[in-house]
């Protein structure tokens, strides 16, 4: 039994809470990445700059999640503290590209 297993045996985790927290984070990531795509299109970003915009936006949302939602204690709400930065960080990428290209075309008169 390694240390991680021993830790979980002493203080077990609630699967229901984990699932609900995951759902909340997933929803925020999806909705915000769609809007990031809209603004990337309005700004007329092209190639790498668009993806850099996505990375910047994702980091911003992670900061908000860390500060506002987890109140600086992510270890209490996720299996590991780094999950608040990494979980679902790429789920919104496809919807980002979709709205990015759509609004890039729409704004171009």
């Amino acid at each position: 039994m390694d240390e991680k297993e021993r830790k979980q045996a002493i203080s077990p985790l609630s699967a229901e809470s984990l699932q609900q927290n995951g759902k909340t984070v997933y929803y925020i990531r999806s909705v915000t990445s769609t809007i990031f795509g809209v603004s990337a299109g309005i700004l007329g970003l092209e190639s790498y700059y668009g993806f850099l915009f996505y990375v910047g936006g994702t980091v911003f949302v992670s900061l908000l999640l860390f500060g506002l939602l987890a109140r600086g204690r992510p270890a209490e709400y996720f299996t590991s503290a780094k999950d608040v930065w990494t979980s679902n960080a790429l789920t919104g990428l496809s919807s980002f590209v979709l709205t990015w290209t759509l609004f890039y075309g729409l704004v171009d008169a």
Partner: protein
């Protein structure tokens, strides 16, 4: 979602729509009216777009469901305060139900 986050989100979407419309108008101006056809997007439209996006993310995170503690002990404590049983799935097992006894009880109440 409560009142304040909804207001923030709606306001940010209005701002984003306005920025998008401005960007469209600017693109139209550059293409059809201006002599100098290679202008970049004005800084106020850029600022409006970025502000609207940041505000939207802020509103969404503010209005999201509260996270729940993943420690089983805390979760169970909260559930028991509500009068529910966190071990219900272990304690109520249909496989171990005494059907004959329940049937007798049912028959006795029927009379």
């Amino acid at each position: 979602m409560s009142f304040v986050p909804t207001v923030i989100t709606v306001f940010s979407l209005v701002l984003l729509f306005h920025a998008g419309y401005s960007a469209y108008e600017f693109s139209h101006y550059v293409k059809h009216l201006a002599a100098n056809a290679n202008a970049t997007l004005p800084v106020d439209i850029v600022a409006e777009t970025v502000a609207a996006t940041a505000l939207f993310a802020f509103g969404q995170v503010l209005g999201a469901n509260k996270l729940k503690s993943v420690a089983f002990a805390k979760w169970a404590k909260g559930l028991e305060r509500e009068g529910k049983n966190p071990f219900a799935s272990l304690e109520q097992r249909p496989g171990f139900m005494n059907v004959r006894k329940l049937r007798e009880e049912y028959a006795s109440t029927k009379e």
